[in-house]
């Protein structure tokens, strides 16, 4: 029985590739069981057994490898080129991290083994906790949260538990309007109402705004530092004091920690609890949307509330489950351990000086782009930025060209677009975060591409509004996708 695949034409090396179910040929197998001398089971009642087999594809190993190889060729990646997504910190992902995480003595360790049999894993976790605490200037760390937003939940739950333990349950969380969407979403899931705080014309949060919003129902303030506009929140010492005086805690969103390592520490300016995105600042790969890891660092007074178990230090490292004040677990087992191994490797390899140099170059690169692009694009704020710079389409709008068109045209020039339309406080934002990984030559190529796009916007706007032209697919219809959702393959 043979059946032709849907069109398998090529454009250069970009192969068309059908949905994997269309490649399936009944009777093909990609896997054989080892032989076994254990008799087949005789105990199961037919009524319990599955009647219709799942329609998984039937393929050989070469079929499957070719399928995923071809799919991979349809992805842009940091390995392929500049990926300046603001607030995402798309830095290079060192391959030695992958090799350490894949070591048998890590990858094959079962989380239910007795503690004495995974002392090396616990030692690695303790060393990572200590390093992160030193970098952010706080006292204790949990590695359990699986991502940034998961860390946000963990941190807010600790604040809530601490206040409830003192008989001081509160109802509100203050969130600056420039916050990432996860901040208000987390606050609500944690049972709070959010109060949105405006930023000043300089893009910063000001103490008087916080003072005016602060009352005895405010559990705390959630603030991204440096903020999502790439600016250093210089009033934090005063702001934190206001929140503390009112009985609240300050939660720091650590998405932008790549701007601070070895330069300034969130704990030193008054932040009480923060999450750290290992998949941003600490070079672990994003994997097309995870797995990440979102460890949470806290001041000593919040330590009893961290998820359990914690690792108790001593000659033998022990998992301590006896934590009566703990918020409980936020995830099964100990978190995304393989991601922790990668971050540990990164910190261990480049050391304190390497982390500090990463921050310094991330800041310099962003300011270099800011200086070079200011000729063609409107820069949202008139002060030096930290690790990312926010531009807008203000100069291009008169030609009928918007931020999305600029972003899509960058694809034609070989670059991944920056983060667009975020933060919401800057209309039509184009947020560029180059990271320290990019060379001067790469930055100059990007700048040249952006200048070309600015020129095209004036001379031939259709080039932009119809972009992208180069990739295997043109602009995709997201409205149609949402109107009539097709979320799974329709079997014939």
């Amino acid at each position: 029985m043979t059946r032709a695949f849907p069109p398998s034409g090529t454009t250069g090396l970009a192969h068309e590739e059908p949905i994997i179910f269309e490649r399936s040929v009944p009777g093909r197998r990609g896997w054989l069981q080892p032989s076994s001398d254990i008799p087949a089971a005789d105990d199961l009642d037919g009524a319990l057994l599955r009647q219709q087999a799942p329609r998984l594809p039937e393929l050989t190993e070469p079929d499957v490898v070719r399928h995923y190889h071809r799919l991979s060729q349809w992805n842009y990646s940091i390995d392929a080129g500049f990926y300046p997504l603001g607030s995402c910190t798309m830095k290079y992902n060192p391959r030695v991290n992958e090799d350490v995480a894949a070591m048998t003595g890590f990858a094959q360790v079962h989380p239910q083994q007795p503690g004495a049999t995974f002392q090396g894993a616990l030692q690695l976790m303790v060393e990572l906790e200590d390093a992160l605490a030193e970098i952010v200037g706080l006292d204790a760390v949990t590695l359990q949260p699986a991502a940034g937003a998961h860390g946000e939940y963990t941190g807010l739950a600790c604040i809530r538990a601490a206040q409830v333990a003192c008989g001081d349950a509160r109802t509100k969380i203050l969130v600056p309007e420039s916050a990432h969407g996860t901040n208000p979403a987390t606050a609500v899931i944690c049972g709070y109402q959010t109060v949105t705080l405006p930023a000043g014309p300089d893009g910063l949060l000001h103490p008087e705004v916080v003072a005016a919003a602060m009352d005895d129902q405010v559990a705390g303030l959630m603030i991204t530092h440096p903020n999502t506009i790439g600016l250093y929140e210089r009033h934090l010492p005063e702001i934190c004091e206001i929140v503390h005086r009112g009985g609240g805690f300050v939660y720091g969103d650590g998405a932008n920690l790549n701007a601070l390592m070895g330069v300034a520490r969130p704990g030193d300016v008054g932040i009480d609890v923060m999450h750290i995105n290992l998949h941003k600042t600490f070079s672990t790969p994003h994997g097309g949307g995870g797995p990440g890891a979102g460890p949470v660092a806290v001041r000593a007074e919040l330590e009893p509330f961290l998820p359990r178990p914690i690792i108790r230090r001593g000659e033998l490292l022990e998992l301590d489950w006896d934590r009566p004040l703990s918020i409980g677990k936020v995830r099964s087992f100990f978190g995304n351990f393989g991601v922790l191994v990668r971050a540990w490797t990164y910190i261990r390899e480049i050391g304190g000086p390497g982390l500090e140099q990463a921050t310094r170059l991330a800041v310099l690169n962003a300011n270099y782009i800011r200086a070079r692009l200011g000729e063609s694009f409107a820069v949202a704020f008139d002060t030096p930025c930290m690790h990312e710079v926010v531009l807008t389409d203000r100069n291009q709008r008169e030609h009928g060209v918007a931020t999305m068109d600029i972003a899509k045209r960058l694809i034609d020039k070989g670059f991944h677009p920056p983060t667009v339309y975020f933060p919401l406080v800057v209309p039509h934002a184009i947020m560029v975060e180059p990271t320290e990984s990019e060379s001067l030559q790469e930055l100059d190529s990007f700048v040249a591409a952006m200048h070309e796009i600015a020129a095209e916007a004036a001379e031939n706007p259709a080039l932009l509004t119809g972009a992208p032209h180069a990739p295997v697919r043109g602009r995709l219809d997201e409205v149609a996708a949402a109107k009539q959702p097709r979320l799974r393959y329709d079997f014939p």
């Binding site: 594809p57 830095k91 079962h110 937003a149 010492p237 949307g289 100990f334 540990w344 694809i411 995709l476």
Partner: protein, 463 residues
């Protein structure tokens, strides 16, 4: 600080000087001093180890790894939420491709069709395995998937049913994660202790079902390894107007036993680790999440949908994002952002390699091995299988001596014998949860049985 070279930072001293000239500062320190008020500068180096070479960091990692025992050094009968199955070699090579590994969340679909199509296929495979109509692009793990499912059931009832019932034989860590999320008191959780047969007590459940209950969450095979009567549960739960949430910790079970969807579940969640991910000390794993089409708009997490481009060619995008935090902010269905994309892709690769027959073979073989082992252990003097019901590849053993001591002793003899229940329930000192998969050989199983017998006889005699 002198500007130095580091292997992941390309800028040379000369290039840094050039960039500083363009930016208009004499040094990076001067630029930073303009941004950060002086009292807030750290002003000292971080107290962290000095940089080392790649060879040295590999050695440091290898030294820590060498301090861990694992399934390569001991015969392993551990399960309880993390399961060992053979992972085809091709998977590591496919999933390690930089194009998958080093891409971001596919916000720009024209340059992310690989990830998007891969996740669309993953969603379809999860639906097929679970017998459901729609699945999302993954959540963190099985435990958080269950918590999200209960939140979803609460949303479906539009707040009119504030309570959720969770079966006592759901994995204790999953229960704890649900309780942590329940801390916000948005959902009140009630635990339903298992009946004398180790499964949910249907009569007791019926008595506690009322119009306040939005869902009943049950694990099958449950934490004790037993198959729950899902069709009967679905009938009871639906009669009370609530949703049935089923959680699966090793999805291979769904290839052998009737799928939760076919049994009437409304939301099916699971831990996807067993489908091609190493046990890796507990993570990264991947949460599977599936439901009925009519409930899709209350579902959490990212969804990939099929659409077309301006030329009419087929393609894929993230869709229905009006449910999500980056659009809805405080009105979102969940705060989830980063999920477990690469792990999801890895499970799809595994399911593609094994196919329907391969997955069923692994399930049947694991079941046969566990059955063989359970019968041999039950024949040992003093050992007993307290529950008579059907199980998949994991079963509870009542031991004549404390199970924790037994496990520790057998480690010295080269075997991880199982998970002592006292790990979660201090008063259940004489119970051991044992798991066998297709990877456990007859020789390993016979040796476990021999060691259990010898040790129990010795301990029992000494006591």
């Amino acid at each position: 600080m002198a500007e130095r070279f580091y292997k992941y930072i390309p800028a040379t001293a000369g290039e840094i000087e050039h960039m500083l000239g363009v930016v208009g500062y004499a040094s990076i320190d001067a630029l930073l001093a303009e941004i950060v008020p002086a009292p807030q500068l750290l002003g000292r180096p971080l107290a962290l180890p000095a940089p080392v070479s790649e060879g040295e960091v590999l050695e440091a990692g290898a030294q820590l790894a060498a301090q861990n025992q694992h399934a390569g050094t001991l015969a392993c009968f551990l399960g309880a939420g993390a399961y060992r199955h053979q992972i085809p070699a091709a998977i590591h090579h496919m999933v390690s491709r930089g194009e998958f590994l080093t891409a971001y969340t596919p916000y720009q679909p024209e340059v992310s069709q690989g990830t998007l199509q891969g996740i669309f296929e993953f969603q379809t495979m999860v639906c097929e395995l679970f017998g459901m109509e729609v699945a999302n692009a993954s959540v963190y793990d099985g435990a958080s998937a269950l918590a999200e499912a209960i939140f979803m059931a609460h949303r479906v009832a539009r707040g009119k049913r504030p309570k959720a019932i969770i079966a006592g034989a759901v994995h204790p860590e999953y229960q704890e994660v649900c309780c942590t999320y329940g801390l916000a008191e948005i959902v009140q959780l009630r635990a339903q202790p298992p009946g004398a047969d180790g499964r949910i007590d249907l009569a007791a459940l019926e008595a506690s079902l009322d119009k306040q209950v939005c869902c009943v969450a049950v694990q099958s095979p449950n934490f004790l390894g037993l198959i729950e009567d899902l069709p009967a549960l679905a009938e009871l739960v639906h009669a009370a107007g609530a949703l049935l949430v089923v959680v699966v910790t090793d999805p291979h079970a769904c290839a052998l036993f009737e799928s939760p969807g076919a049994c009437g579940a409304d939301i099916v969640v699971g831990e996807g680790q067993a489908l091609g991910l190493p046990v890796s000390m507990g993570g990264p794993y991947v949460g599977l999440f599936a439901t009925r089409t009519k409930l899709v708009r209350t579902m959490p997490g990212r969804l990939v949908g099929r659409t077309h481009d301006v030329h009419g060619q087929p393609g894929f995008v993230l869709t229905l994002s009006t449910r999500e935090q980056h659009i809805r902010r405080e009105k979102a269905t969940s705060n989830i952002c980063t999920n477990q994309g690469l792990c999801a892709l890895q499970t799809a690769m595994y399911m593609s390699m094994l196919g329907p027959d391969g997955i069923k073979d692994v399930a049947e073989r694991s079941h046969a091995h566990a059955l063989y082992l359970s019968r041999a252990i039950a024949a040992l003097p003093g050992f007993e299988l307290p529950f008579g019901g059907h199980f998949f590849h994991e079963f509870l053993v009542r031991t004549p001596v404390p199970a924790a001591g037994l496990v520790e002793h057998l480690v010295a003899h080269g075997v991880f014998a199982g998970v002592p229940m006292s790990r979660y329930f201090p008063d259940r000192s004489h119970e051991l949860l044992v798991c066998a998969t297709e990877l456990n050989t007859r020789a390993q199983m016979d040796e476990l049985v021999r060691l259990l017998g010898v040790h129990a006889a010795y301990e029992g005699g000494a006591a």
